[in-house]
Each structure stands twice: as C-alpha cells, then as structure tokens.
Symmetry: C2
Subunit: 399 residues, 2 copies
C-alpha cells in the first residue's frame, strides 16, 4: 500500500485487487469511516445481506480492507471499487445542499435498528428536517401510482390531518397516492419525508421534481443509494424497507393486486410494524390490494382519528365518533319502542286500543306514554294519544 494525496485533497491508495494481477489506484482513503460507509453504499446494493454481515462484524473500514485483501467471497464488491469516489459523491450531495448521515450520528433514525442485518450503510439527505425528529412520530402513507381520484383524495386528506396532529407523513414521492400524501402534508404546512430509490440528484419521477424540491425545502428527502444511482426495480423493493422501518404504521391507501405498496406492507409486517389499509370499492381494481390486506388482517382505517388510535395508547387519543344523525326513537327501552310503534301519527288512540296494538297491559302502555311524552315523542290529544311530529329542541336544557 502506498499513500499520497489524491484528488480534492483525499489520500489515494494503490491496491492489488487480485483480478488478473492488476494494481488499482483507489480514489479514496479506506481508513476514513465516513468515506468507507459511502463506499459501501456504492459497491453493494441495498439489502445485500452478506455486505451488511461483513460491515456489522468488522465495521465499514475493516470490511473494506477485507474486500481489498482479495478472496472469492468478496469478489462481487471489488467490481465497482475501481470507479468508487466517495469524496466526489459527497461533493455532489453538498452541491444540492444535502448531507450524509451515518449510523451513530445523532439524527440516525432509531427505527432502522429493527432492520437487523440489512440496515442502510448511510443515508443521503436533503432538507432541514432532522431525521430522528421526523421519525419520532411518523406514519407511512403509500399506495398505487395508478391511483384513482378516490385514492388521491383519501391520501391527501389523511396526510393533511396527520400533519396537523404533528405526525410526519413518510412516502415514496411516486405518482398517485405517494404524491397526493406529500401534497396533503405540505398543504397542512408540515414537514413531510420522501424516501427515494435513486440518488438525490435524480429526482425520480422527473414529473415530481418540483414536488421533491418542495419536500426538501421544509422536510427531508432521503435515499440510501449515492448520487447518480438509477432507480432500479431492486432498489424500489429495498427502498420500501426503509419506509417501513422509519415509521410506526404503514397505511396502504389504494393498491391494485400487485402494487409495490403491498411490498412495503409486507416489509412493515416483517418489522412488527402495524399495517393498516383503507377499504375501497370491490368494483375498483385499484382497491383490490387494500381489500386483500384487510382480509389478511390489516387494520381497517377510514379516517385520521382511527390512524391516531394506532399511534397513541388508548386514553390519549382524540378519536372522533362516527357522525350520524340520531333517530327519534334511538335508545328507547323495548316496551317503550313497542308503544311508540303502536302510536298513530294522525288520529289519537285511547290507551286501551294502544295496549291491544302493542300487546302490552294498559298500565305498561300508560307508563310508556309518560316516558315518551317526557322525550317529546308522544302527546295527549283529547281522550287519546298520538305521536309528536318532531323532536323538541334542547335549548335551555342543561348539558
């Protein structure tokens, strides 16, 4: 190993990479912990179990030396090592006003520890939001790219409501449900967090470039792959595990039978996170995945209050009751309901005939009529009784 100062002031080192006996000039100092973490995010793909096991055992620097030492079991990581330049990656992210966050940093999200052997080597971040603060009360709101107006409406409403209650909405910045969720959160003037499957200089999907920049202006845009990385299918799948791990609850708002949002739900389940789904019409293929999740035991959520129930212990909730107009006869005891049923709407009837109709004793009918009268549901007219037209107002009465 011979060291000297390389480009941009970093120490470059020559290494014999073993293949074909060639010596290669590393473009960075492998003994710098942060640069080593960046290098790992470059030479291995997200979720590479073997890479994480090695890093877990030896640390990023030690693991990198293991790769440099040669040997068949580390060969796959040497492929990309020639072109790896962590300092350039850092310069790129800084140019976009971003930063690198590595395990051990104060803002490293605690939930990532639940990823066991496949946590990210580092996170690339744009935005003023501190990740640990954003993730302290966070909910993933995810769903189909090909969302319907229904899915986008529910995602936006739910995200806005959660944001108003101080909950961070985390999603993937995709078209459809993801975008609607971020927009709903931004409309409620709260920070929101987007986790991308590509480098932060890629703005994928390109049609959401402005949205991603708006998210980065107040919240955080996050990725585990370094600048320049394309959003491959594999990276999308692995990105989902980050969304699941950094949140307490994953809500699938609208998803077709094979939607990627179901993968996120699956990751959340593996991490013992709560998975919730918004029900949708069984006639809508865009809701098939959600309804399937409900069949498999996902929590059914229909509004913000029900999501908050999942976040806070019972008693601390601000659950809103289901609003429905009360009927006049709600809450009547059995016999009173029978008397009420028997009461004519127009011509008054005597107690004797009411007893006949209701199948009750006259005494019972008389008692029931008294209770109905107090509730404003019956009144005497001449020698008989009939139903009162309308429930009286409660003005003037106590609570």
């Amino acid at each position: 190993m011979t060291g000297d100062r390389g480009l941009r002031g970093h120490r470059a080192v020559d290494h014999d990479l073993g293949e074909a006996g060639s010596r290669v000039r590393l473009r960075f100092d492998p003994d710098d912990g942060r640069l080593a973490s960046v290098a790992w995010s470059r030479i291995s793909e997200p979720g590479d179990l073997a890479a994480f096991r090695l890093v877990e055992r030896l640390g990023p620097v030690g693991a990198l030396h293991e790769v440099l030492a040669g040997g068949p079991e580390t060969a796959r990581w040497r492929v990309r090592l020639r072109t790896t330049d962590p300092a350039r990656d850092l310069a790129t992210i800084h140019r976009f006003g971003g930063r690198l966050v590595v395990p051990g940093d104060e803002e490293w999200p605690a939930g990532l520890a639940d990823l066991a052997s496949t946590p990210p080597h580092c996170l690339w971040v744009r935005g003023p939001g501190r990740l640990d603060a954003l993730c302290a009360r966070a909910v993933a709101v995810v769903g189909a790219r090909a969302a319907t107006a229904y899915g986008e409406h529910v995602a936006a409403e739910m995200a806005a409501g959660l944001t108003e209650r101080g909950v961070t909405v985390v999603s993937g910045a995709a078209y459809g449900v993801d975008g609607a969720a971020h927009r709903g959160a931004l409309a409620a003037e709260g920070p929101t967090m987007a986790v991308l499957a590509c480098g932060l200089d890629r703005w994928y999907p390109t049609g959401h470039r402005r949205l991603i920049d708006r998210i980065a202006a107040t919240g955080a845009v996050v990725s585990e792959v370094p600048p320049g990385s394309a959003p491959t299918r594999w990276r999308f799948l692995e990105r989902n595990r980050l969304i699941a791990a950094m949140t307490m609850v994953t809500i699938v708002v609208e998803a077709a039978a094979r939607s990627g949002a179901l993968a996120t739900a699956g990751r959340a389940l593996k991490l013992a996170r709560t998975v919730a789904a918004v029900p949708g019409p069984v006639t809508s293929p865009s809701s098939t995945g959600c309804n399937q999740l409900l069949r498999e035991g996902a929590v059914c959520v229909t509004d913000v209050a029900e999501v908050l129930e999942l976040l806070y212990p019972i008693g601390e909730q601000l659950a809103l009751p289901v609003a429905a107009p009360a009927a006049d006869h709600d809450g009547l005891a059995v016999d009173d309901l029978r008397v009420y049923d028997a009461l004519p709407i127009r011509s008054p009837a005597p107690v004797e005939s009411l007893a006949q109709v209701a199948g009750l004793l006259e005494d019972e009918v008389a008692a029931g009529l008294g209770r109905l009268e107090v509730r404003g549901l019956a009144h005497r007219e001449g020698s008989g009784w009939r139903r009162s037209a309308r429930r009286p107002g409660r003005s003037g009465a106590g609570a």
Copy 2:
C-alpha cells in the same frame, strides 16, 4: 269451560279471563296444538322472552291454558286473546296460497334452534320452496335501504353468483340492498327467500309487491307474525334474528352508521354465525357501517369466491384467484432481477459493463443472462446483451 262448534267448524270455548270478572268466548279450540301456536304468534310479540319460556316449559297448548287461568304474570297476553282467531288467520294464509309451519314439522329450519329462548312460535310461508332445503346452504345478503348504485350492484352480483352455486340468498325484501339481492338471485333463476316483518298479506314495502310475489313464485316468503300484522320497528328488529338464524353467513353489503343491517349482523354474531362485510369507499357514508364492521373483526369479502370460502371447508372451495396481469419480471431470483435491471433496452451492453452496473461478478451476470434468456427476457446482440422486447408466447409448451 263449555265447548261447542264455533265459526268455520272450530270449537269455541267460553273462558273467564279474570279481568273485571268478564267471561269471554274464545274463537278457537286452545287444545289444538297448531291453533295454539298461531294464537301465540298473535298474542305475543316476536322475541317475547317470557312467552317463549312459558311455551318451552308447557308447550303451546299448556302455556295457553296458563294464560286462560288468569294471574298477573300472564296478563299482558290476555289483552289480545279476545280478538284472536287462528282459524281465520289460517284461512287468510291459505287464500294467498300459503301455509303454516310449526316447530316439529319436517321443513322447520334447523338453524332456528340456535335462537335458544326466542325461536318463533310458527312461520307463515308462501312459495314452493321447502324451508329446510332452502336453509341447508343459505347466506343472508343485507344492507341499507338507501343504497347507492355501488351497493345495489354488488348485492345483485353477489346474489347471482351465490345462487348459481346453489346457495340460497336470504334477505328482507326491503328497498335498496335487500331488493337488489333478491333480484340478483331471481336473475340467476334460483329460489330466494324473503323474511318479512309483517303479515304475508301486507307486502311491505308496497313498492316491492311484485318482487315479493316473484320471490313467492319460486322460493319462499316467510314471516313469524300472522296475517294482518303491521311492520313495526320492533318487528323489524326481531325479524333480523330470523334472517341471521336461518343462514350460515350474514353479509352486509352496504350500510350507513346506524343501518338496520348492522342489527342483523349483531344478531348473527350472537348466534355464532359468521359476519362478513363488503368494504366500500371511506368517502361514502353509505359504507360507514360496513367499514366499521371490518374494524370490529367482520370478515372482508369482495367476491363470490370469498363468500364460498366461508361456507365450505378448505379444499372443497372453488375459490377464484385474484386476476392481475403478470409482469415480465415476476418471480425472478434476486440476482437475476438485478441483472434484468441492469440490461439496457436499446443498445446492447457487454457482460463486463453489466457486472459493473449490477454490482455482480461477471460469472454471476453470465449465469443470470442465461436464465433470463430462457425466460425470453434477454437476448444476445453482437457482443452484448439487451432486454427482450416482449415475453414470448407459451403456445406449444407443456403445462
């Protein structure tokens, strides 16, 4: 007691009914078991626990004599006894081509035994369908009167599908979901069963008179209250227990927060029947009740196959898989997916560069390319490889 032959050849009997010392001429023979059951369905309301306890202990005849013997605890049933004329009720039902079915009759539905202390005293029936046969494989399809097009569509489709599989659809003949369910069953040319809350000569709701007659033409229209009885709220609530008891599963298709269909679901739960609900848009108040049921643990059902799963043991089902188009890359192993991700769509790339992009060894890439080629997902072009445009047909290949 003095007996003689009364109207229509029945033995009429004078009884001292105790109140005000008056003797009353009963219009029927209280020692005739079937007439006694009819009398009980006339003098007591559906679900009257005390009445059923008495009948259970003494039989309908003995219980009637207990009422005739006087005493305060049987007073409420004596109120209607003066006007009770079971023979006239039977004549009325016969005039409509109907019949009386009492406990112990061969066609008495077995499920009613689960009603414990509140089974009906008898059932009034119109239609050629034998109740025991209809109830052998029966599902209740219920829901809101104020149904939306969605609710009516799903009810009709589900009812038609169930009917085609030989399952009897049972409902309440109400407007909305009930009516749609019956119509769906009739459209599939199967018998369906309507349980009414009024006498069978009342055709409630009146707008469904033709529908009710059509149900009676091939299936069965059933009630526990005698001819002439009005459909009171109380009778509606108690009618729901019959629908629940005579079916194996109760499906709520569409229901608002306070829908009567939820009462049927509640009755079904009490009877240890399976309760299922069809999910609906959270933006539709007409689905609030269904979505609430799902939150409370009801089974989520989205199609006929899922309902059949609830009726038949696993293995006997004809469950249909969720239909969704397969993607080209479905089922690829992890490394193959990474190679597939790396493959260019237009200009072919050499293995070396694919290895670089995928972060895999060239050997691994080569092996993956071979597997992808077999699946028609990749092909060689010149010295490189690229993605194949389209999945090849499978014609000619074995299963």
